[in-house]
Symmetry: C2
Subunit: 451 residues, 2 copies
């Protein structure tokens, strides 16, 4: 274990990356210098900022211009704490591993890297006796990783449901409040800076999936990587889906769901597993997550003893993310001064990650059907044959003219909400429904969460 | 620094108190034995439970009856971790100090003790090289102390507003939803077990004041004791106050408010200070705290970089509180195994605690006034003379008969909401208003928070 004397010598902090988050980190390190020194017990000295291109004007930052370097590989060899806010897999990963090898503790905001290579990074940290912290990787300023891996360390987490992507929450919130379609809402989000020019990582759920992997790993003491997370984005969410949710007093959210499930195996023995998935779902407006507006993030946690908890705040942005980074910097710096280490990887539970088909979910299904006797019986049979139990059915007669039906035949609109069932059975039911000759169209299929 | 070898020898846990929380702690220590051992890196062995009276039937607990002892003083001499859930000042304080002297780290749920003697306990912990953790002392299961003292350690907290007493939140919520008066709502809360037979500590705000002192100390790196907290309970909150709040689309909550204020001193220099207070206040229903129902707790935090955060969950009860206790037990046990210590007292900022009169607040004032020309001018003058700026005035003419006025004279109802001003100036304004001959009665005075 490395442990410096609690002398007055400053701890050397190296910063990798100077984009929106890095700039905020650099500024806070300088402006809060005295507070940070008092809290850590030693001054923190910014010894270098690795940037991709030299010569860019950064005179807005209150740092000595000589601190900027394009030689990140050299910088990480001369620091006690390395802050990585570059993002992406390489060169971030190599730099972090080199930093650890040279004895530095690492604070990272890199969700993609943690979701892909978390176990390897933890192993490197353990090997070199340094800390690995990454609070900023999930839900920006919201303290959520530390609560899960420390505050709830004596409890059993059952479920984590997160709104962990601000862009998609902004888009879905606009669709809800204005009735806009997906494309229009995304354009508006782009104009306001809430969505990138290429919004794929957000709207296709890749960003949320990486975060779900990190949350599930910590909550269930089990390795879960980003590619094990079932992922559905919001590009298929229509104005009709959002309207259907409104009629249920629900709202559509892109949810990152991590759930511990105890199912019965083929041998009749109980089997524990974890389901980790990202998809849009209807959630009641009265649910604590139902009121999370705009680009805010929130994470809802259910634990055996603690019951229901929620953590709410800003999930992105330079200063909020820097707040989480600096909290981690203080933690690892305190360990340098006072000894000890933060928690290492905890993967002892080693639970199997279930396939999406095994996840227990509920569906909300809207159907346009012919209005003739026996239709409801046929529909109900399709559910029964797939062993899916119906919670509610609502039928609405639509006049042929209103329906824009050339033949003028009356038809009906059916809304079915199911009880909980394996996702595979629900998906099979939807397929079966689509093939019934009395079903004209399956107009909306959406999972339901939150009760 | 004490540091055991990471051998397989169990860490000895002593439990002081076996009431609602203690029973849950004991049960969880036993039932989650394997998980806790895996997370700590060593088994945790419950070596004794100190109770006040021997011989009480505790066969519902899955613990060896021989573990119960009435000799707490002896028990604390033979433990690595002492969990104190007795509550109150003595004997809890002496037992904790003795435990530390004998080398044990301490986990406490005792808000009253921490608010009264926190600095002395931290000093004892530092002297003996042990940890002091007390997450369960504020807002039960909600991780709030660790986020403030660790996650936000790199940020500057500006304001903490907590709903930290479940009993009063239950009572106020019932008054809001049913129109009941205070006495009736308290009786109902007592019948349902949400309020004690003697509800003084809750309804008079003593419980919340202790928690406010703890929150403010951590948030502002400044010693704040319970007796420095301005305190007003909810016994004077009337059905009329709650109705007045409804008309503003607000709800009345008992708030624990910790605020960092930068004011200008008599010498014209900026002076930093902290205002720590517990009182009922109107808060908009749209505010994240406005939707906290029943006996739930929530803590809203504003920090420079993080922005607005909220933490929500169950603030009391055996299992929720035990969840927080066990999280702390795992933390201090990990330090025993891996070295290091949790953060000690951080009081370097040493900011002055302002008197209530200096706190900047807003008032909502309802007045019954005579309906004659010049009344509003007279009322407005009273505000102006006290340098209080009015945000809105609403006037409603009340017919003499409707008003139950024997003389049949018409009168008017005035509702004034002020801008932010020192509390002393607002209180002086209310006094001045009460003395105006055109003011028949000041019918409701309530502070306004949350925007």
């Amino acid at each position: 274990m490395q442990q410096e004397q609690a002398s007055g010598a400053p701890l050397r902090v190296a910063l990798l990356g100077c984009g929106v988050v890095g700039s905020s980190v650099a500024r806070m390190l300088v402006e809060h210098r005295d507070d940070l020194a008092a809290r850590v017990g030693r001054p923190l000295e910014l010894v270098g900022i690795a940037v991709r291109r030299a010569g860019r004007d950064r005179s807005d930052l209150p740092v000595d211009p000589s601190l900027f370097t394009t030689d990140a590989a050299e910088l990480v060899t001369r620091a006690d704490v390395v802050v990585e806010v570059i993002g992406g897999i390489e060169p971030a990963r190599s730099l972090i591993e080199s930093a650890m090898k040279h004895g530095a503790s690492v604070v990272s905001a890199n969700k993609a890297l943690l979701a892909e290579a978390g176990p390897a990074l933890y192993a490197a940290a353990a090997e070199h006796g340094v800390d690995l912290y990454y609070e900023a990787a999930v839900a920006g300023a919201i303290p959520i990783l530390r609560p899960i891996r420390e505050s709830l360390a004596g409890d059993e987490v059952r479920k984590v449901i997160g709104i962990v992507n601000g862009t998609t929450n902004y888009v879905l919130d606009k669709m809800d409040t204005t009735g806009q379609g997906f494309a229009e809402a995304v354009e508006q989000a782009q104009a306001l800076g809430y969505a990138e020019a290429d919004p794929t990582a957000d709207v296709e759920g890749f960003d949320a999936a990486a975060k779900a992997a990190i949350l599930a790993s910590l909550a269930f003491h089990t390795r879960v990587s980003g590619d094990q997370v079932y992922r559905e984005g919001i590009t298929e969410v229509s104005a009709a889906d959002v309207q259907a949710a409104r009629e249920m007093d629900c709202v559509v959210k892109l949810l990152a769901i991590c759930e511990r499930t105890d199912t019965t195996g083929p041998d009749g023995q109980p089997t524990a597993g974890v389901s980790v998935r990202v998809h849009p779902a209807m959630i009641p407006r009265s649910h604590p997550l139902g009121g999370v507006r705009d680009a805010f993030n929130a994470v809802f946690v259910e634990a055996d003893a603690a019951g229901q908890l929620m953590f709410y705040g800003k999930g992105a942005g330079g200063d909020p993310t820097a707040s989480a980074v600096l909290g981690d910097v203080v933690a690892v710096a305190r360990h340098r001064v006072g000894g000890g280490h933060g928690p290492g990887e905890s993967a002892y539970a080693d639970l199997p990650v279930l396939a999406m088909g095994q996840a227990l979910t509920r569906y909300h299904i809207s159907l346009d059907v012919a209005d003739r006797p026996g239709v409801l019986a046929q529909v109900a049979t399709a559910f029964a044959q797939n062993h899916v139990s119906i919670e509610t059915v609502r039928q609405q007669i639509v006049d042929g003219d209103d329906a824009g039906d050339a033949g003028g035949a009356t038809r009906a609109h059916l809304v079915v909400v199911t009880h909980s069932a394996p996702d595979a059975a629900l998906a099979a039911t939807v397929e079966a429904l689509a093939e019934l000759d009395t079903v004209r169209e399956v107009t909306s299929v959406m999972r339901v969460e939150g009760d």
